[in-house]
Amino acid sequence: MINYNKLIFELSNKDRIGYSLPKQRFTNYNIENLDPSLSRQTELLLPEVSELDVLRHFTNISNKNFGVENGFYPLGSCTMKYNPKINEEMASNKAFRNLHPLQPANTVQGALEVYYNLQTYLSEISGLKEFSLNPYAGAHGELVGLMIIKAYHEDRGDFKRKKIIIPDSAHGTNPASTVVCGMDVVEIESNEFGRVDLEKLKAVLSDEIAGMMLTNPNTLGIFENDICEITKLVHEAGGLMYYDGANLNALLGKVRPGDMGFDVMHINLHKTFSTPHGGGGPGSGPVGVTEELSKYLPNPRIKKLDDYYYVENSGEALGQISSYFGNYMVSLRAYTYIRTLGKENLRLVGPYATLNANYISKALKPAYELPIQGYCMHEVVFNGLINKDTDVRTLDIAKRLLDFGMHAPTIYFPLLFPQAIMIEPTETESKETIDDFINVMHKIAIEAKEEPEKLKQAPTKTPIRRTDEVFAAKMMIFSYKDYLEYINNRG
């Protein structure tokens, strides 16, 4: 049914319904009695469809999506590992789902225990003192982490420190979060190995530096081997080190951010701890800090006294950044994942992810340009095909992969290489799956030389072909109402 092509509004038939509600019980009250000056006057444009219509519609459009259970999903920087079913089963437990966050603490002890223990596990895995699970997403965690850095300096009466050092290989959220936090970005150029250039770092250190944001391994999948020197230099200059947990998966079982000298970090539970990406969210971005910074963690906090868990709002905290306890049901899934793996298996995540990535790196090197030599960590970045004589670009390679039933890698990021292809296989992929991917990539490299047009036309086996993005941006058709107007004007 990949040819299904209806909007839910187009199935609408007046007076059809898809719900069942209780009978009216208090008929001497009626919302019609509300003063008309407070009531809606314009008609709602919502569909009128049956329950089965709804099920078929969404089932059919779901078939036009590609999920982790459809096939290989080597989207670099996104850690598209398997999302375990048991996580979902635990998160569907009504004894958690139906809890109101304002319920008294003695009625939600189980929920608070999970929150408390997960923050403890994350502290142990990170080598930091304490976590808050309240930030809703990775970028939200970055913002909260930067607020902590700012609060720390201001608390010491040091109002001059308003600059954050960010390598040019960083995710776009790093500079954006910095500015949203009311600080300025100092970008430093990476060296020829894609790492932080120590001399360039030294040159920007001053008493105006609040801190430095770093992903390690960096977005090229390369470990910053000077990390101890970097954290030392920044600390000596009075700054704090922020660890962007986007690539934490590589480190599980090998090294902890706290041990490398980081003071603040966020973790993407939807990457490293296997919670589903949901087509863009909800994610979760817990923030961890050293003991010295723990008082700044956002409210509300979950504390434990003897065996009793309670909610605390502290005056020293940076404030509130969420209504309640973040995306709690996402935390519940991550908790399930950690308990499923246990200490015996958690330590294997980084090694297996890294083995898979290096195996791909070595196998593709004869056909794809590997700009940085040596071992990678959990992901590898190529700069397009070695053979630059064809018109085939990274975009074409990505689109052609879709025809082979695989998701495309991340493309055109990091910005350091014009034809970047970023491949992250994760530890949940088997050798067979990876070998298939390698074979397909080699096949595409041959096609690029022999049948370049095929790549330019790709994909051809997907529900739709390449799209007209200029049209979308110019026409700005964002709703069914806009769409109807467009169709009517077109005649």
């Binding site: 092509n5 469809v49 989207l75 863009g280 298996n345």
Partner: protein, 444 residues
């Protein structure tokens, strides 16, 4: 072996051989010896699936599922069975942000449908693909107002939900923007105070309806005043109530934002839910978050794509108006399915049933003589009363009967001393409501 790792000993050996190394450790030679972590994490040992189920059953016993008679932003509305059945499909649940439109039309289409539904409910031209929650959506609306008006201050209504106020204050403080409060009078925002406080620095005015007391505020005259000052009018509204209440567009708002949990989501101990954000197209380039647009593929087939991405952090980096990267896509799917099932009639009926139950409870509580209404203003599904009964007495008595309700608003601060909150959705039966009344009647 472990169920999520497919690596057999033979696989590992052959991969190591291909790499010309003898152990996986060699791949980590870049990590300085001094920071290598060579022990087990201090976390519990692994659990089998059945052990985990037992473990969760134990944890669940420590929670008490209650009949909810208080909401304050998160409400116990009906969740059709269809929603869980569809949102748990792996095609929706496990996919990433739809960067490859050719294999993401499922996600992109429902986002387009979601945006269309938010459009019609708010009356404003463009909705983004969703925000984290109602409070952060409102904070982003403040940033947006400052960016559009090129001014540095927002005026916040004192009748906003205190959680929303707290989140906004944190966001504004760190971005070094300013705020001031408009006083309330008789439970609603005071237009005279608004007149006094609007000035050349005011970028936006943020109000909420129904407000923290459940009161449906009347914004007649607001939009004219605010527009004359070249500021933006921002309305935070529980999206479900917009099925029957005057839309933000009808109220003259420039930006609408708020919480969507009422549309098919569980209360989920506070999250995930989602926030909506909508505005007119004139301001779309200052709007944060993903936006999905209609287009066609190269064969002319109808298609949907993420568009206007040049506003976003992955392109604009430090010049982006927001750092937001994800949305709450899967929760937007909850909304889309819910509103598909309910349609316009169902949404009206949900509001009417809630209205009826709430007003029945209100009259009965007033009749007990133990509660007074300090405001006497129109409300929908939630209301606030004054009582001389100690709030602990109320809470304890209700909890003993498995009810969460009559919550003392002073959990949000001393300002609300003596005020208690009640909310009633269509899910509350007559016998549940009568039970609540009889318990409260018996208290002294």
């Amino acid at each position: 072996m472990f169920k999520y790792f497919p690596h057999t000993k033979a696989d590992i050996d052959s991969m190591l051989k291909a790499l010309n190394i003898s152990s996986i450790d060699e791949l980590f030679k870049d990590i300085p010896e001094s920071v290598i972590f060579n022990s087990d994490y201090d976390v519990p040992s692994f659990m089998s699936e059945s052990e985990l189920r037992n473990h969760f059953a134990e944890l669940a016993k420590k929670n008490q599922e209650l009949t909810l008679f208080s909401g304050l932003g998160l409400y116990d509305h009906y969740q059709p069975a269809v929603i869980d059945a569809l949102t748990s499909r792996q095609e929706f649940m496990t996919s990433y942000t739809p960067y490859q439109p050719e294999i993401s039309q499922g996600t992109l289409q429902y986002i387009f449908e979601y945006q269309s539904m938010i459009q019609t409910l708010t009356g404003l031209e463009v909705s983004n693909a969703s925000m984290y929650d109602g409070s952060t959506a409102t904070a982003e609306a403040c940033f947006m107002a400052c960016a559009v008006a090129k001014r540095n201050k927002v005026l916040l209504s004192s009748t906003l939900n205190p959680n929303t106020i707290n989140v906004i204050k944190t966001y504004l403080k760190y971005k070094e923007l300013e705020w001031d409060f408009i006083e309330e009078k008789d439970g609603v925002i005071d237009i005279e105070d608004l007149k006094n406080k609007l000035d050349k620095d005011t970028a936006g005015v943020i109000v909420q309806k129904p407000n923290i007391y459940g009161i449906i505020e009347d914004y007649s005259g607001f939009s004219e005043l605010i527009k004359a000052n070249k500021s933006l009018f921002v309305i935070n509204a529980d999206i479900s109530t917009l099925g029957v209440l005057k839309s933000p567009k009808e109220d003259g708002a420039d930006i609408a934002c708020g919480e969507c949990q009422s549309l098919g989501m569980p209360v989920a101990f506070g999250g995930p839910t989602l926030g909506y954000l909508a505005t007119e197209k004139t301001y779309v380039r200052k709007m944060p978050g993903r936006i999905c647009g209609y287009t066609h593929d190269l064969e002319g087939k109808r298609a949907f794509v993420l568009t206007l991405q040049a506003r976003e952090q992955h392109i604009r980096r430090s010049k982006a108006n927001s750092n937001i990267c994800s949305n709450q896509s899967l929760m937007a799917l909850f909304v889309t399915i819910y509103l598909s099932l309910m349609g316009k009639n169902g949404l009206k009926e949900v509001n009417n049933l809630s209205y009826q139950g709430a007003h029945y409870l209100y009259d009965k509580l007033i009749a007990t003589g133990k509660f007074k209404d300090p405001f006497q203003k129109p409300f929908l599904k939630e209301f606030t009363l004054q009582t001389t009964l100690p709030k602990e007495t109320i809470q304890t008595a209700l909890l003993e009967n498995g009810i969460f309700g009559g919550l003392g608003l002073d959990v949000f601060g001393d300002k609300y001393e003596g005020l208690v909150n009640f909310s009633v959705t269509e899910k509350r039966t007559k016998s549940e409501i009568d039970k609540l009344i009889s318990i409260l009647e018996g208290l002294s």
